[in-house]
Structure formats: structure tokens, C-alpha cells
């Protein structure tokens, strides 16, 4: 109990607004005076003379309490209270009744009024005590209502949750069991309550083994990361749970139990495991495809090499022989060459020479023999000479002849260079290209830089083109790293670095 005059409860508005609904002017004046004089400093009385006016005021201003006369021009008796209560059930109402109308007064109390006062007994102390009590009771009521609401809401959440939400006593026994728990464990509330929580779950270790859930462990696991646990449903099915726990404490901070929220993650874990597996498969497939590509490339090189050699050896040599024979015949044409044999032989010789040049070209295009006989550096120098001659793009080269990276890697690097040069010739509109093959920090680095139009690497489709894809794949296949730098108007620079095996 507290004294409203000296110690208002904290949080209460310091100014109370009291709505006085009273059509008799003398009564109204008296009541107002009693409130102002005996009540707390700063109380405000709003006086109206009809129910209609009361409703308008309630709608317009915050009102803390209503003093309601039951004989009004637009309403009499219980009706008055009901009209006001229809507008708001929150605002406490104290009714003012005539002499000895106890029966009506009691009806009003059961109809929702907080208190009643008989007009002829009115005095400051009674009035203000009635007001104070009415306010307190009304506040307690609405707090209780709010608490009940909250509890109902929480209960609904627990009821509706798909997760198992259970509470556990400090000695590890199940105290509550929601429908989610029933679904998760396949067991009804009646069978579950009172049994140890440890009967239902077993923590899963990093090694994949489960252990008994000790009480200590359970109590220690407060609001940390959810723990993975295994469980066996009543129907025998094994499930994986993610269990989060928190301590439950009373107002004096004593531990009264635990709440555990258990989420069935069996399906999620299975999907994750599947995903991991599929990723591993894809990675493996990737590696296999890469190895296959590499193998195909090697086969193509071998085949090209074979065709190149055959074309060169067989056709080239035969053509050479024909040429020599033509020459031999030419020297034996009689002085008097009436039939124009010499001229015809000269024509035939020229045809053979053109054919030889074509054959050589085909042979080199397939695979330059230098690659096999003299190695990568010589192959690159020759390729660059041909490129400069063919395209008119000036080549600056620094080709070091120092490191060997093996025939297969050399083939790949040579084909990468050809692809890069093709790009330069086709797209760059460059006037110069600089090519380097240098040994640096244990790596053989091929660099091709042009002064052409360039492109924006992140935006341009060029990087995802088959050409660049081929370059990247070839680089990867020989354990190299491929870096491409470019910007519009800034040319393009590609470098491929391949680790060189340190020999003895």
C-alpha cells in the first residue's frame, strides 16, 4: 500500500487527468474542489455534463480516471457505465451514486467500475483514496493482462515451433515437452516427462563418435554455440540434432532448470554431406578433365609432329628430287630448242619451288621442327620472326635459352604464345609487341605485352573466350600461373610463370 499524496509510484505521470461527468453544477463544483484541495498538486479535472461530451473528451485526450454520475441528461444508471466502458475498458471508472442505492452500485462494480462513492458522503479523503485505489487496481490489472498476453504469445510460439523445445530440471529431468518435441522424438508428452533428457540425446564428437550427455556438460552448455547431438526416435530412426540450451533462473537468480531447443538437422546434414561429396566429385572430374585435355593436347602435338615430319620428309624430299631431275633435264636440252622445252622446264621448276614453299609452310604450321631439335627458345625466336614478317607488328624480344621445362610443357608454352600472338594480331591493333622468356626466381616466365587498345578484364568477354580459357587450362596443366593485365587504351600484358625443376 502506498500513500498517493506523498509517494507516487515511479513511472506514473505526475499530472493525473480526471474526467468528471456530472450535470449538476453544485456537485461538480464540490467534487472539483475536493480533488484540487485534497488531491495531489497538479491534478487536472475535466468537467463535462453529458455522456456525449464525455466520449468526445475521451477520444480527444488521455484520461487517467473517470468520475461518473449515473443520472445524466443522455443516460441513466448502468447504461452510463456501459457507454463509457464501450469507449475504453482501460480507463478506471469510479461511479457517483445517490443515497442508499447500494444495489445499483454493486451492479456497477460487477459491470467493470473500480469503485463507487455516494454523493452525500463525499469528503476529500474518501474521494482521493478511492481515486488512488482505482488507479492502482486498474494498473495492476492491465499489467497482469499484459503478462498473460506475453505468456500466451510465448506459449503459442513454443506450441507452434517445429523445433523441440523442452525444459529440464536442474537434475536433468524433462519438465516440459512441446508438440515439436513430440514430432522430433516421436514420443508423447506423457511418456517423456520426468525422464532424463540424457536418455534422448547423445553429444556427437568431432571424431563422429557419440558420448553420454552428463549433467555437468548440460549445465555448462549455456547460451553457447548449439551442440550437435545424435538421437534415436521412438521408431528407431537415427536423427541428428542441433541443440541450444539456456539456463532458467527465478527472480532471485537461482537456477531452476534449463531450456533446450533441439532442431532436427538430419536432412540439412545429409544435404551438406551430399554437397561436400558432389564438390569432391566435381573437383575430381575437373582434375580428370584437365588431365584428359592435357593428354589430348599431347596426342595432338604428337600427331601434328608426325604429320609435319611426314609432309616435310616425304613430300619435301620428293619435290627436291623432282627439282634436281628437272635441272638435270634442263642441262641436256639441245642448243636448238625449237619446241620450247627449256622454258617449260623453267616453269615446272618454279611450280615445284612454290610447292616446296607451301609444304614447308604446312609443316611449320603443324609443328615447327625447331621445337623438337633446338627447343623452346629457338622455336619462339623463329615464331616471332614469322609473326613480325606476316603482321608487320614490331617485335621486341628477350628470349633466354637457359631453362628446360620438358617437352610437353614446352609444347604447351609454345601454343600459349601462338594463341597470345593471334590475339595481338586480331584484336589489339598494336604497333609493337614485346615478348620475353626469362628465368626469374626459379620460374620460367613467358611475357607478352602489346601497346594496343586493351580491354577491361572484368567486363570483357575476351577473358571468358575459348582462347583465354585454353591459355589458362594449358598454364594449369603445366603447373603454371597465368596473369592477365589490361585496361582500355592501355594495351595488354599476359604472363605465364612455370616453376622450373632445379637440376642438381
Amino acid at each position: 500500500m502506498y500513500d498517493v499524496e506523498s509517494k507516487p509510484p515511479t513511472g506514473e505521470r505526475s499530472t493525473r487527468t480526471i474526467l468528471l461527468v456530472e450535470d449538476e453544477a453544485r456537485d461538480a463544483e464540490l467534487i472539483s474542489e475536493l480533488i484540487i484541495e485534497s488531491g495531489r498538486h497538479g491534478d487536472r479535472v475535466l468537467h463535462v455534463t453529458s455522456l456525449q461530451a464525455a466520449l468526445q473528451t475521451m477520444a480527444a485526450e488521455p484520461v487517467d480516471l473517470i468520475l461518473l454520475d449515473l443520472r445524466l441528461p443522455d443516460g441513466v444508471g448502468l447504461d452510463c457505465l456501459q457507454t463509457v466502458r464501450q469507449e475504453s475498458v482501460e480507463i478506471p471508472v469510479v461511479v457517483l451514486t445517490g443515497v442508499e442505492d447500494e444495489h445499483l452500485a454493486l451492479s456497477c462494480i460487477s459491470g467493470g467500475a473500480q469503485d463507487y462513492l455516494t454523493k452525500n458522503e463525499l469528503e476529500g479523503r474518501t474521494l482521493n483514496r478511492a481515486i488512488a485505489y482505482a488507479l492502482t487496481r486498474s494498473r495492476e490489472l492491465s499489467e497482469r493482462r499484459r503478462a498473460n498476453d506475453l505468456q500466451r504469445r510465448l506459449a503459442s510460439i513454443v506450441e507452434a515451433s517445429q523445433d523441440a523445445i523442452v525444459s529440464i530440471s536442474p537434475d536433468g529431468l524433462l519438465m516440459s515437452w512441446n508438440p515439436g518435441a513430440e514430432r522430433t522424438f516421436g514420443l508423447g508428452e506423457v511418456e517423456a516427462l520426468g525422464r532424463p533428457f540424457a536418455d534422448f540425446v547423445r553429444p556427437l564428437g568431432a571424431d563422429g563418435e557419440t558420448t553420454d550427455l552428463s549433467l555437468d556438460r548440460l549445465l555448462a552448455a549455456d547460451q553457447g554455440m548449439p551442440i550437435e547431438m545424435m538421437s534415436r526416435r521412438a521408431d528407431g530412426q537415427r536423427i541428428t540434432l542441433s541443440v541450444a540450451t539456456c539456463h532458467l533462473r527465478d527472480d532471485d537468480d537461482r537456477l531452476i532448470g534449463l531450456a533446450a531447443i533441439c532442431r532436427d538437422v538430419t536432412e540439412a546434414r545429409r544435404r551438406r554431406a551430399e554437397l561436400v561429396q558432389r564438390n569432391a566429385e566435381l573437383t575430381l572430374r575437373d582434375e580428370q578433365m584437365r588431365a584428359l585435355t592435357q593428354r589430348m593436347n599431347e596426342l595432338i602435338e604428337t600427331e601434328r609432329s608426325r604429320i609435319s615430319r611426314t609432309v616435310h620428309d616425304v613430300l619435301g624430299q620428293l619435290l627436291t628430287a623432282i627439282n634436281l631431275d628437272l635441272h638435270w633435264i634442263g642441262r641436256r636440252v639441245p642448243e636448238k630448242d625449237e619446241r620450247g622445252i627449256a622454258a617449260k622446264i623453267k616453269e615446272a621448276t618454279e611450280l615445284v619451288e612454290r610447292t616446296v614453299t607451301e609444304v614447308q609452310q604446312i609443316s611449320v604450321d603443324l609443328r615447327p621442327s625447331v621445337l623438337d631439335s633446338l627447343g623452346l627458345a629457338a622455336g619462339i625466336r623463329d615464331e616471332l620472326r614469322r609473326f613480325q614478317k606476316r603482321t608487320g607488328i614490331r617485335v621486341d624480344a628477350r628470349i633466354e635459352d637457359r631453362a628446360s621445362i620438358g617437352a610437353s610443357a614446352e609444347s604447351n608454352l609454345f601454343r600459349i604464345l601462338q594463341e597470345l600472338l593471334t590475339n595481338v594480331a586480331r584484336h589489339s591493333r598494336a604497333a609493337r609487341v614485346s615478348v620475353g622468356l626469362v628465368l626469374r626466381d626459379g620460374q620460367l616466365e613467358l611475357q607478352v605485352a602489346d601497346d594496343g587498345v586493351g580491354f577491361a578484364p572484368e567486363a570483357d568477354r575476351k577473358l571468358t573466350s575459348l582462347g583465354f580459357l585454353g591459355i589458362r587450362e594449358r598454364s594449369l596443366a603445366i603447373g603454371g600461373r597465368c596473369a592477365i593485365e589490361s585496361a582500355p587504351g592501355q594495351g595488354c600484358r599476359v604472363s605465364i610463370a612455370i616453376p622450373v625443376a632445379q637440376d642438381g
Partner: protein
């Protein structure tokens, strides 16, 4: 010219060369071999006046065989004949000790001219080949005259640059004066450096001697 070794693994090519030589030079001793090891065998067999060697043949690479030939006979003129169009190969055989290179498709017209060049101690390259070599892709990478020299030629070039006389060089390398003179004229031919003074200056400038 009496004795010529023709090394080519293709009979038709050997026949063509044989016919050309016979037409121009009459009867000659012409021995034909078809792989690189047989060349070394033939070198031990007798002294040759001219070697006509294909570049791509069965057996160890010709680039390894040429220095071995030069060890056996530093003076014999070596004319390489090849169907391979690549410039790098031309450069490499010249560095390995050859005196001239002729491409097979030009053999019918130019073989005799090439032979007479190398026989008098000059280097033979077809003008087009020479132009291709000069097609520079890089100031540094362009073969400088001394890079065309074989190992033995380079050795003698350095000795000349250090101021040694032909006699001193001959003694040091246990070669005859005549052999050293042949080398020197070949060095002149390849580098285009006419006098000992020019050779010495070139060697200094290019860091060949300190």
C-alpha cells in the same frame, strides 16, 4: 676436288646431288651415307675435300655431330643442305662449325655456287636466308658476327684479340700453321672483320676478351 661425302637419308636427294656434281666436275669419288653416325665413321676413313650434309637425319643430332667432325678435321669445308626452313636451324649449324647452308629447293640452281664458295673458305648463305637472319626481333637477340663462329673459331678469335700470332696459336693448340690460317680466314669471312686490329677492337667492345 676429288673426294666428296654426301650424307642424306633420302636416296632421291643423294642421286640428284650426285648427278649435279658429276655434270659439273666430272668423275669424283662420292661416298654416300644415310645417318649421322656413319658420317663420323667416314671421317675416320679418309681425308675429304667436301662434306655435303643433310641436317635432319637418323642418328644423334647433327648439332652434336658437327663439333665432333671439326675435332677430326678442322679444315674440311662443310656445306649443310636442308629442307627445314627455320632460321634458328641455320644459325645453329653455323655456330656448330658448318661453312654454308643451302635449302634443298634451291639446290638445283645454287648448289654449285654454294660449293665453290665454301671450297675457297667463304661462308655461303642464300641472300634470302641472310635477309631472314637480319630480320631482327631484338637488338640484343640479333646474332652478332662472332656468334656465327664455331667453338674452335671463337677460341682462335679470342687468341688473336689477345694479340697472339698464328705461330703462337698453332703451338698452343697443337695445330699446323696452315690450319690456323684457314681458321683465321674463315673468321674474317664470317665476321667481316678484315684486320687483326679490327678483330681486337671488336672483341674488346663486345666483351669477348677483357
Amino acid at each position: 676436288m676429288r673426294q666428296v661425302l654426301i650424307a642424306d637419308d633420302h636416296e632421291v636427294t643423294r642421286r640428284g646431288i650426285r648427278d649435279l656434281l658429276r655434270d659439273a666436275h666430272g668423275e669424283l669419288v662420292m661416298v654416300e651415307v644415310g645417318d649421322t653416325e656413319a658420317i663420323l665413321e667416314a671421317m675416320k676413313d679418309r681425308a675429304w675435300d667436301l662434306l655435303i650434309l643433310d641436317i635432319a637425319m637418323p642418328g644423334p643430332p647433327i648439332f652434336d655431330i658437327l663439333p665432333a667432325i671439326r675435332e677430326l678435321d678442322p679444315e674440311v669445308p662443310i656445306l649443310m643442305i636442308t629442307a627445314l626452313p627455320e632460321v634458328e636451324i641455320v644459325l645453329r649449324v653455323l655456330r656448330s662449325g658448318a661453312n654454308g647452308v643451302i635449302h634443298k629447293h634451291r639446290a638445283a640452281n645454287d648448289l654449285l655456287a654454294a660449293i665453290s664458295q665454301v671450297l675457297i673458305g667463304k661462308t655461303y648463305l642464300h641472300p634470302e636466308t641472310a635477309a631472314e637472319i637480319a630480320e631482327s626481333i631484338d637488338q640484343e637477340a640479333r646474332p652478332r658476327p662472332h656468334e656465327l663462329l664455331s667453338e674452335r673459331e671463337s677460341e682462335i678469335f679470342r687468341m688473336i684479340a689477345r694479340g697472339l700470332s698464328i705461330k703462337q696459336i698453332a703451338t698452343e693448340l697443337t695445330l699446323s700453321d696452315k690450319t690456323v690460317s684457314t681458321y683465321v680466314s674463315r673468321i674474317r669471312e664470317k665476321t667481316g672483320l678484315a684486320s687483326y686490329v679490327e678483330m681486337a677492337r671488336y672483341a674488346l667492345q663486345n666483351g669477348i676478351v677483357d
